[in-house]
Amino acid sequence: MWRLLWLLAATFSPLPDMTDTQGHRQKLTQPDGKAAVIFFVTSDCPIANYSAREINRICAAYGSHARCYLDYVEPDLTPKQVSTHMTDYGHGDYPAFIDGKQLLVKALGATVTPEAALVLPDGTLAYRGKIDNQYASPGVRRTQVTEKYLRDALDAVVAGKPVAVPRTNPIGCFIPPVRAGK
């Protein structure tokens, strides 16, 4: 019994509520049956920036099954800068957080930007890692994307199947430590 509860506790990672750049409180796990996809980004990481439009396409394609969120891991950004950045780089209308204290980073174990985390309604971290294999390494952008890990994970979740590749090593800019005083 205790073992079962411990197992449940291990898989259930309660995500903190976050206030977005418009001032709205967001509960990432909601009883609407939709998964949450959190994208960790910074405004000046070239890999995260190049991925922005694909993030938008994914969020549009899976909108009925998943809610998207952007988590900017940059303590100095202002909501206005976030808004400009999202427009410039073609992001959609999803909520964005300025996560200076890295609450979501810690809760989900993100290490680089861009990194995607797919969280099921029951709190299971169904997928965490890179969005696709657009980058073979930080300096090498593939000419053709041949693996779409996040889309595959979303397809599995939508079909009620297990995610075949639940974790991948993301490629991008390392998330810095939390700055003292932030």
């Binding site: 190049y50 780089y89 300096g139 000419t143 003292a180």
Partner: protein, 686 residues
């Protein structure tokens, strides 16, 4: 300063996880150690309004990007510099020393302290206007070109009529892109025929597309094409005048034609380039451009089968007159894997003029030599291009791979190594131009069924590194059609290893090398002692009557390298403990004991080295003194010479672990004369 617990990140940051922050008086700080490195090497590009995506001017910038900096500098991805270093010196060479890279690692592991800001250097000031003064001619695109937010890299050609009425000579060009974040490099040419102007804006946008439109345009005026264009531009280059007496040609009334490489970054922008041109008087010596293979590779009949990862193209040209080389570049498309241009001088000296082992078409510099390189009459230039058309090449535009040939489309291939020279004696120009023109009109011979090797496939048998060879060095060759299908391992006979094995022979300047094993894809040989004292050597592989193209290799008197236990060239060394058991981390050497190290590359010996000879009755010792460092401490060397019963070229070194050496895997280096063996070899100490 407390460090919040966090996930262990790979490589350098493992130290922080295991050991915690390093708090001692010598901890590097941003103010004293890191800012100077960044200001001297990085902030030309990493500052607002330049090509880099983020700035590194302030402490906060460095903190936010510090971990990425540590990873990118450790892998030498940043600062970007593709040519192998140590062979020829170039202007504006970018790169960090091992010490600088190590400082960044330590700084990040220590939590990235700011230090005493009073000790920080002032950030550099950058000139905003024309760096070389007011240009003599300023050209500007009349309309901007829209670059999309994402998608594949774009190569687009733009035309700038000059309206000049007399010939001019150009000693410098400064480029001012408006979409600085997107322009990765620009190549500049002149068009005397108006063809480019006719193609301009045909598709509704300024300029015209294509990698390969340029060769066809240039070929309409071959004499102008021979004169080599107007050079290249990459971000971060300091605009500078060409060496004195050298200038590009800008014929009267010609158009300037530029090929711009755009690297989309997620945000659309508009490019409207401004070019500043600086004139000089007619130079005494005119430029001739040699392309090997000629015409951007058209003469090499590039035809790469789908899936082939080492398709090689080779072309050679011999200078009929003395020349001086002042710049070099390579042009290859997506599939390029490596490029190498060597010069074999009449003295036998081999100069490596350009060597890029992992080609990345995003970084196409034109490299200007620090000093002119003198290439006497009779110097043979070898150009080698290697392509990877397999699915393992992340730049392959086709998934699955398809056959790729030379052509105009962006999914076709091209390639050449480009050397810009001036004749040493001005009146030799016509002879030079004629020879280059004839060569350019000749098809480069295909490799066919000859044994095939690439330069990067000639490696040190102990360190697995490619580069120079030395007398007696054990080398491994990787290639195709070099030997029998089944591995043949040689046996000594009468105390000597054979120089013919399974039909394979390897020659260094026509001297046969002893062979250790041979197979179609891999051969091991020992460089003959006959190369001792020579400045270079020509290596060939012969199988039956088929002989490979020669590979020109520089020669050094010594080039020590320690054999590794797993043959990778690093890690646990091939070392015995004093009881002759194999040294491993499970069987470490006791403190202060004697270890036996096996190495190669010790050079000429006394008595003179005899190719292939087993050390049975004579045990030659290297001419140059041998010292050993273990854990950075000098170790006493009790013996350094031939390994009994092993072949000449393999050296055995008995050294005593110095007091003070720590336990665990400890670095070992063998120094012959003043040359040290490769980094990364360790011995296990109890």
């Amino acid at each position: 300063m407390t460090v919040a617990p966090r996930l262990c990140l790979p490589v350098a940051l493992l130290a922080a996880c295991l050991l915690g922050p390093i708090a001692n008086a010598q901890t590097p700080t941003w103010s004293e150690n890191i800012a100077p490195i960044l200001y001297a090497n990085c902030t030309t590009c990493h500052r607002p309004g330049q090509v880099a995506p983020f700035s590194l001017l302030t402490y906060t910038d460095a903190f936010q990007h510090g971990r990425t900096m540590a990873a990118q500098t450790q892998s030498r991805t940043m600062p970007p510099w593709k040519p192998e270093t140590g062979w020829t010196s170039f202007r504006d060479q970018r790169g960090l020393s091992s010490d600088q890279i190590s400082l960044i690692q330590q700084w990040v592991a220590a939590g990235m302290p700011q230090g005493d800001t009073a000790k920080a250097p002032a950030p550099p000031t950058y000139v905003d206007g024309w760096q070389l003064g007011t240009p003599d001619l300023i050209l500007q695109m009349p309309k901007g070109y829209s670059v999309p937010a994402d998608g594949p890299d774009i190569y687009r050609n733009f035309v700038f009529p000059t309206g000049t009425t007399t010939d001019h000579w150009v000693r410098a060009i400064e480029l001012k892109p408006s979409a600085r974040a997107l322009v990765h490099h620009v190549l500049l040419f002149t068009d005397t025929t108006g063809t480019a102007r006719g193609m301009d804006s045909q598709d509704g946008s300024p300029g015209f597309p294509g990698f390969n439109s340029i060769p066809n345009i240039l070929l309409k005026d071959p004499l102008n094409a021979l004169s080599g264009g107007l050079g290249g531009w990459v971000p971060g280059t300091t605009p500078a005048f060409l060496p004195s007496g050298i200038a590009y040609s800008l014929p009267a009334g010609s158009d300037v034609m530029i090929q711009t490489h755009f690297h989309p970054n997620g945000k659309a922008d508009v490019e409207q380039t401004t070019i500043g041109i600086y004139y000089t008087s007619k130079p005494p010596r005119s430029i001739t451009q040699l392309q090997a293979p000629a015409i951007f590779g058209r003469q090499a009949n590039i035809d790469i089968p789908a899936g082939q990862s080492d398709y090689t193209v080779r072309s050679s040209f011999t200078f009929p007159v003395d020349v001086d080389a002042f710049s070099v570049s390579a042009h290859v498309h997506y599939l390029g894997r490596g490029t190498r241009l060597t010069a074999t001088l009449p003295t036998g000296e081999v100069k490596i003029l350009l060597w890029i082992k992992d080609w990345n078409f995003n970084w196409q510099d034109t490299y200007i030599y620090k000093d002119l390189i003198a290439l006497p009459k009779g110097t043979r230039i070898d150009g080698e291009l290697v392509y990877d058309n397999s699915s393992g090449n992340p730049y392959n535009p086709n998934s699955p791979p398809k056959r790729v040939q030379w052509g105009e489309q962006s999914t076709d291939e091209m390639g050449s190594l480009i050397l810009n020279v001036v004749p040493h004696v001005a009146s030799d120009l016509t002879t030079l131009q004629l020879a280059v023109a004839v060569y350019s009109g000749t098809t480069a011979p295909a490799v066919g069924t000859k044994p095939l090797l690439i330069s990067a496939g000639v490696v040190d048998g102990a360190s697995a590194l490619s580069g120079a060879v030395s007398p007696g060095k054990v080398v491994v060759l990787y290639g195709q059609r070099m030997g029998p299908a089944n591995l043949a391992v040689s046996q000594p006979s009468g105390g000597k290893y054979p120089s013919s094995l399974g039909g394979t022979q390897v020659f260094f300047d026509n001297v046969p090398a002893p062979l250790l094993y041979s197979s179609t894809g891999q051969v091991s040989a020992i460089v003959p002692y006959a190369v001792d004292g020579k400045p270079g050597t020509q290596m060939k592989v012969q199988v039956g009557s088929l002989v490979s193209d020669p590979i020109a290799l520089p020669v050094t008197p010594v080039g020590p390298s320690i054999f590794s236990a797993n043959t990778s060239g690093t890690g646990q060394g091939a070392i015995l403990n004093s009881d002759l058991s194999v040294n491993t981390s499970a069987n470490p050497a006791p403190k202060n004991s004697i270890i036996v190290i096996y190495a190669t590359g010790e050079g000429q010996t006394s008595p003179d080295g005899v190719d292939g000879q087993q050390a049975l009755t004579t045990f030659p010792k290297p001419l140059q003194p041998v010292t050993v460092n273990i854990g950075g401490l000098p170790a006493q060397v009790l013996y350094a010479g031939a390994a009994p019963s092993l072949v000449a070229g393999v050296i055995q070194i008995n050294a005593q672990l110095p007091p003070g050496v720590p336990s665990g895997d400890v670095p070992v280096q063998v120094v012959v004369g003043t040359t040290s063996s490769q980094q990364g070899i360790t011995v296990a100490v109890k």
